[in-house]
Amino acid sequence: MSSLVASGAASFVEVMIDNFLHLTPDALAAAFPGVPLSFHVMNSQFVRRDDRELDILSRRLKLFIRELKPLYVSDHLAVFTHGGRRLPFPQEIDYAREGPLALDRAKRWQDLLGVPVLFENYPSILDAGRGQPRFLEKLLDAGAGLLLDLSNAVVAHKNDAAPLDEWAALARRATRFHAAGYRPSETVPEFLVDSHDSELSADTLDFLRRVKPLAAGRDCSLVIERDANIDAASWSRDLAAAEAAFA
């Protein structure tokens, strides 16, 4: 990762900030000298977490935000627990049933942190995902932000949830974007899962090219996520391909 920044292929680093909250901000900054950072919150569980725990977490996060001044702070629009039990992986919000609660909780979480929070769209599998673009528009109208994950939108489309065309209005309102590799599920290959372990698909790169004019004229950024099979050469190819499609 350091080599990607040093070579100029990447201009900032997005940190999964939950992993570092027990450190001091200085200790985190020391690992990225002179490199701008953004914060990606992985595990706030803001929708169903109790207020006391969320308040404690927000205080730690605010310290890092105040000291390190990230380019932006983002979080995940998903539910992480059911009946207090940790789900095997985050599940999409049932927008019809739990949307109003999620909207309130997102606003509350943003208020607690005291900075705009950009909420990332979910790589839908179930039909409930068809309601996601409309829900995100409500979220934006309510004053929250959007981190538009372009490959998650492709995954949702290919999983027969929200069609790709329904993201255009949201793309016009977003300035921060993500993209990553995805793959067929190990057990149910007809479903795609957001895996962050491979290079961007041709469909994702096509979507980047479609979104590019919708983002024109705004100061935008794009993060290429890679959590597994981390290989600098492969990641560099992704960065170059994404820049050619989107910059």
Partner: protein, 177 residues
């Protein structure tokens, strides 16, 4: 969908066979499979192709008990094996299960604690110490340590600590669900 189907095979198989919800539950159970077996090669070797004979009843137990499915999960698997499959539970396997729980704690705990001791009264005189990463470019650590057997009720106990070094008098608490 019935979220219980994301935790046990019986609930998953109650969903219509060709539904997206059934497929999602299958994906979820595979995630649990990886979460249980990937950090435990000894456990994986022990059950081999018959790993569902271990996993499915344990997950049923976990659902009945309402286990959180968070970091203590492997420690609860140890307790469950002790009760239900004692002949297969060796000391090295018990240590592997505790180490998996300790490592998961170090990776997912969001408190200010820097580390945690994990101790089973079945292995007096030693326990595991886990530390969260000490710098952004380091990894978590889990180490077997020796200490005088504390006077505790039978079972598994944990003791988070806030300093770099584990305390001489740990504040033991029962294993959470």
């Amino acid at each position: 969908m019935n979220a219980e189907a994301l935790f046990t095979r019986a609930a998953a198989e109650a969903l219509p066979a060709d539904s997206k919800e059934r497929a999602l539950a299958t994906v979820a159970l595979r995630r649990i499979w990886h979460a249980v077996f990937d950090p435990c090669p000894r456990l994986s070797r022990l059950f081999g192709d018959k790993n569902r004979e271990f996993l499915d009843p344990f997950l049923e137990h976990a659902s009945r008990r309402g286990l959180s499915m968070r970091w203590p999960l492997h420690a609860h698997a140890l307790l469950w094996m002790k009760e239900k499959r004692p002949a297969e539970l060796s000391a090295p396997l018990a240590q592997e299960l505790l180490a998996a729980a300790a490592a998961r704690w170090a990776n997912e705990d969001q408190s200010d604690a820097k580390g945690m001791l994990l101790y089973s009264t079945d292995a007096p005189g030693s326990g595991l110490a886990a530390w969260k990463l000490r710098a952004a470019d380091q990894d978590v650590r889990v180490v077997l340590i020796e200490f005088p057997a504390p006077s505790l009720s039978g079972g598994i106990h944990c003791a988070p600590f806030a300093e770099e070094r584990y305390p001489d008098a740990p504040a033991w608490r029962p294993l959470p669900d």
